[in-house]
């Protein structure tokens, strides 16, 4: 081999090695971005899955409850006055405190503490007249202090938890009367202005309803459109034009669909504002092109030999399509649908426009009840000033990501499990 050829060979090897390195660096960068992103979310958000409780003692004194009956009925307990009992449960933590300062103690638990005192008695009517321990939801400030998210060393006048409250907190903590438990209410409660009470139940249900409505509207329309275009429509300039437009539709920014929903669904058809029904229909406009494209691709992937076999047996076009082509294309269509829905799941902008950004503190039971959705909930909480919402935002992102990963997994499983192998 002469030196010119040797050089050429060396250059070729070097070029290939360099190229491989570029690729490795690119992948490394992408992975490290992902790792930083995930670390950020998890390190901030994991604490939202835990909830701080303050344990104290409550005396269900009949006199303070204003119950006269000897053996009170459920109704009597329901209508009793819990204010004093609850108040005493908190102030008993520091009996020496002057009366005008007691707000400082009350502020250490959530404003719903009276309801919590009531609920415990309603669940255990035999506690009446007894002194029993009770768990009260700590206020988000105490919660954040306990989780170590709130700095204790800043000057008192800038701190939401004052020195006295910190002293009580330390005392309770030493006694083991501050509990950190799994935060069930994060999943079962609707949104709230108070960070310690806020949960994702309403936005989660809103998302589920929106996705179901979206599926119900977009899947049949998209599949029918795809079947017609792929199997029946003549191939001419007009159908080419339609195809180009469907592909363009897939690239339209989602906020435009939101305006469409606002202008038509709300303004013209007067559908109920802020509801998953409207949100779902708006999102279905977005998923429609995605599903059409996926369905057409999987119809195209059915080998022509199957169509020929059916036609040669004397099946009509319709029978060939319905008996053979469509069933064989279903795995691809379904996985495309799930991916389309997963995209819709993360959409925020169109939902904000149709009013699903409203503060909703009830859990929707039907698609026509007002609701938020998970991405919008993230948006709402991220605008809140309280420190307690910071971890909630990250936790909500984690729930959304888990939802997305589950859906993508489902798409993968559908594709691999039900796809027919052509011999």
């Amino acid at each position: 081999m002469n030196s010119f050829k040797k050089n050429l060979l060396k250059k070729r090897y070097n070029a290939e090695r360099r190229f491989q390195w570029y690729g490795k660096i690119a992948i490394g960068l992408a992975l490290s971005f992902l790792a930083v992103f995930m670390f950020q979310i998890f390190s901030k958000g994991y604490s939202a899955f835990q909830k701080t409780w303050i344990v104290t003692e409550v005396h269900y004194d009949k006199e303070l409850l204003l119950i006269d009956a000897e053996s009170p009925s459920k109704d009597d307990l329901e209508n009793a006055d819990y204010y004093d009992v609850a108040y005493k449960a908190m102030t008993s933590l520091d009996p020496g405190l002057p009366e005008e300062e007691d707000r400082q103690l009350i502020q250490m638990v959530s404003y719903k503490y009276e309801a919590e005192v009531k609920d415990l008695l309603l669940k255990n009517p035999d506690y009446l007249g007894k002194i029993v321990p009770i768990k009260l939801t700590a206020s988000d400030d105490v919660d954040q202090v306990h989780k170590g998210n709130y700095p204790r060393d800043i000057p008192e006048e800038n701190r939401r938890v004052n020195d006295y409250q910190l002293q009580i907190y330390d005392m309770l903590n030493e006694r083991g009367d501050i509990l950190l438990e799994f935060n069930i209410s994060f999943f079962t409660s609707p949104d709230s202005r108070e960070a310690e009470l806020a949960g994702i139940a309403s936005s989660f249900m809103g998302t589920v309803f929106s996705i179901l409505v979206c599926l119900a509207f977009s899947f049949p329309v998209a599949v029918l459109a795809a079947i017609y275009l792929e199997e029946f429509a003549p191939k001419n300039k007009f159908t080419d034009f339609i195809e180009v437009n469907i592909n363009n539709l897939a690239a339209v920014p989602s906020i435009v669909f939101g305006l469409l929903g606002l202008g038509i669904l709300l303004a013209v058809f007067n559908l109920p504002r802020s509801t998953p029904l409207v949100g779902g229909i708006t999102l279905s406009l977005m998923t429609l092109p995605t599903i059409i494209i996926a369905a057409r691709a999987s119809l195209k992937a059915v080998p022509p030999s199957i169509r020929e076999a059916a036609l040669a047996m004397g099946a009509s076009n319709m029978q060939t399509t319905m008996h053979h082509t469509v069933p064989l294309s279903m795995p691809g269509t379904l996985s495309g649908t799930i991916i389309g829905l997963a995209q819709a799941l993360g959409e925020t902008a169109p939902l904000i426009l149709i009013g699903m950004v409203a503060f909703v503190n009830t859990i929707p039971g039907t698609p026509v009840d007002p609701a938020a959705s998970l991405p919008v909930q993230i948006y709402i909480w991220s605008e809140s000033a309280e420190r307690g919402f910071v971890e909630k935002v990250s936790a909500c992102i984690m729930v959304l990501l888990a939802f997305l990963i589950l859906m993508n997994l489902a798409a993968q499983i559908v594709r691999h499990k039900f796809e027919k192998k052509w011999s």
């Binding site: 003549p234 020929e308 036609l311 040669a312």
Partner: protein, 251 residues
Amino acid sequence: MSKIKAENVNVYYGSKQALFDVSIDIAEKEVTALIGPSGCGKSTFLRCLNRMNDVIEICRVEGSIKMDNLELNSRKLDVVRLRENVGMVFQKPNPFPKTIYENVAYGPTIHGIAQSKEEMDQIVETSLKKAALWNEVKDRLDEIGTGLSGGQQQRLCIARAISVSPEVILMDEPCSALDPIATAQIEELIDDLKKEVTIVIVTHSMSQAARVSQKTGFFHLGKLIEFGPTDKIFKNPDNQQTQDYITGRFG
């Protein structure tokens, strides 16, 4: 007796002409073989006989093809009825990705041939027996048809084609994807079937045409060069081109 009579058939794919004035008489209950080099138009002609060219949008067929005095090349013809009477077996075995039973029962189902489950079972059994596949699959009728071997798949396709008792079966190079043993089985089958149905077979293998057919047509560049009894075509053709082709000098 003539079953299918084609007169001056011209076929165009867009502006390209694929068949030139083909006229041919296909006799009833005989095997007619169509031979010729690749791209000579023999498959195109075959697909005119059950209107499978309709699927190709740019394809245009002119001329007259009559089956028992019924004009096949007419807009008014119901292709579904035609294809019930004219079955087809393709080059590559193409069973439906369904069970063996469903494969055979599909035709009778869509044409409403069987009245009851028992009748359908009977049709499936007879068809598979005629296709010489029954003994191999009778215990696994609910297995997927695409799981069979290539030769078995092709016999399944034949069983599917005869399940609706067609008068004519078209075969488009049915053995080109098969090994010699499977090919021999199919050829034997063709010999049996011709007692009941008219068969038109397109083949690349001249020895196959010689073995299975009674009449042979030689196509070249879209024209039917010579058509006659198989013996004569192979032993004493009139045309020089036919002579050259069957002796392997071109093609």
